[in-house]
């Protein structure tokens, strides 16, 4: 019996990528689920800011149709950015990040799980909601579909880039502004191709080149950025 306990203990200690990913993903989703207010704030912010633009620039149908995809993308970008501090900062403050670093799972696994949970609570709801906002801007059905698809592909890149930046600023002075200076310029390519996809569709061109570039960006980001996030977290825990 002692041998069996020993074996299961060894299996626990070995750790694996899948288990670490699933654990961190489930943990962060549970936390988000238990604080629905915070999670819904991101969505509320997104809807609110997107509704401000027609009031600010005037509600001419033609103008709204043209600026719609860009405005919705900028709002998605800001919403992703504003929810970044929740990713690592609170875990760093109460010491859970150090405990996770001591866990047998490879760091890349639970870091990726946390990033995926961040996307599921910020990027995914926005992508699902975007057709509703697009309707307010008078976009047609095809453009709405392309907009939602581009958001689905593009917002994970925002979460990955943002995770790297927020991990770098852990424990830094002037956190929020510094994070904006680091993250927002890096978001620019995603914004260009994301908004470009819907604009190309709206003006009768193919959205496929933009979507392909976004997809390529997502693959490169998913392959490389978790490594950078791990390096940044290790620096922060030093």
């Amino acid at each position: 019996m002692s041998a069996a306990t020993h074996e299961s203990g060894a299996a626990l200690l070995a750790g694996s990528f899948g288990a670490g990913f699933a654990w961190a993903f489930a943990r962060d989703l549970t936390i988000a689920w238990r604080h629905p207010g915070e999670t819904l704030l991101v969505v509320a912010f997104f809807v609110l800011v997107a509704s401000l633009f027609p009031l600010g620039v005037g509600a001419e149908a033609q103008l709204l149709e043209r600026i719609g995809p860009g405005v919705i993308w900028v709002c998605a970008l800001l919403a992703a950015f504003l929810s970044l501090p929740a990713l690592f900062a609170s875990d760093h403050a109460d010491g859970s990040l150090e405990q996770m670093a001591l866990s047998p799972h490879p760091m890349a696994s639970w870091v990726s799980g946390k990033i995926a949970a961040h996307w599921a609570t910020s990027g995914l709801p926005l992508a699902v909601l975007s057709p509703l906002l697009g309707l307010q801007y008078g976009l047609d059905a095809d453009t709405l579909a392309v907009l939602a698809l581009a958001l689905l592909i593009g917002t994970p890149v925002l979460s990955l880039l943002g995770a790297a930046c927020t991990a770098l600023t852990l424990g830094a002075r002037g956190g929020g502004m510094l994070l904006a200076l680091l993250a927002l310029p890096l978001f620019v390519p995603v914004l260009i191709f994301g908004a470009g996809a819907a604009q190309a569709q709206a003006s009768g061109l193919s959205a496929l080149p933009h979507l392909s570039l976004l997809g390529a960006g997502l693959i490169v980001a998913a392959m490389s950025l978790p490594i950078a996030v791990c390096a940044a977290v290790r620096v922060a825990l030093d």
Partner: protein, 239 residues
């Protein structure tokens, strides 16, 4: 010979102090030659007239701004992999000069764009990606100085500079990948579409900016070394 002799801040401090004046002198001489070529030897452009002469500042500044980022990121990679203090200090020393040249490239580009394109600024791919480069430099400087422990700032800045390297090919190839208002490159390894005197002036100016960057980085790294090592015995002896 010990190859790592000058990788110690204490020895490099003296070497940098000895080299900096020479690089300043080289920069001044080369800038003199380059400006002479640019303003006297190079002929007036058939289409743009005299206004094109801003090219002798604009293009070398843009080249050097990208090159310095690459050098800075290489020092960042060196400091992360070999855990050397001096490499991180060099990265910190290069960043302000890189930001300055990025700003100069954008500023002279605006002044060149006004008479030729009729506008100071367009949101085309090359100009936007060069603007992102400026923000990357500023972000690096801000992040490297945001920590109580300078070594943490070194490491965080190094990781950020490595992430930002993606932007360099985007700037470089932007005029080929997108249909931009910014003109394509006139200079390549296979030849050039420029008058020889124009090309000479531009190349000499680029060399001058390069030498100037080395000189200012050496002076700045001396300041960084003094600040970091202020409690060490050899710095106290300098007083």
């Amino acid at each position: 010979m010990n190859w790592f002799y000058f990788s110690s801040p204490a020895t490099f401090y003296r070497l940098a102090g000895a080299m900096a004046p020479w690089f300043f002198a080289l920069a001044a001489i080369l800038a003199g030659i380059g400006l002479y070529f640019g303003f006297v030897v190079a002929p007036t452009d058939a289409q743009q007239g005299e206004v094109y002469r801003i090219i002798f500042i604009h293009v070398p500044a843009a080249w050097i701004s990208m090159f310095l980022y690459l050098v800075m990121a290489s020092y960042g990679a060196m400091s992360l992999t070999f855990n050397t203090r001096l490499a991180a200090m060099m990265a910190r020393a290069i960043a302000p000069t890189g930001a300055m040249f990025t700003f100069v490239a954008l500023w002279t580009g605006a002044f060149w764009g006004r008479p030729t394109w009729g506008t100071y600024w367009v949101w085309d791919a090359r100009i936007t990606s060069e603007l992102v480069l400026l923000f990357l430099y500023l972000g690096f400087i801000a992040l490297a100085n945001a920590f109580e422990d300078p070594r943490r700032g070194d490491r965080a800045g190094a990781i950020l500079s490595l992430i930002g390297v993606v932007n360099l090919p985007i700037i470089y190839f932007s005029v080929q990948w997108w249909n931009t208002l910014h003109q394509g490159s006139s200079v390549s390894l296979r030849g050039t579409s420029m008058h020889a005197a124009m090309l000479t002036g531009m190349m000499v100016m680029a060399l001058a900016f390069w030498m100037y960057s080395i000189a200012t980085s050496l002076v700045r790294v001396r300041a960084v070394i003094l600040e970091r090592e202020r409690r060490s015995a050899w710095v106290r002896q300098l007083r």
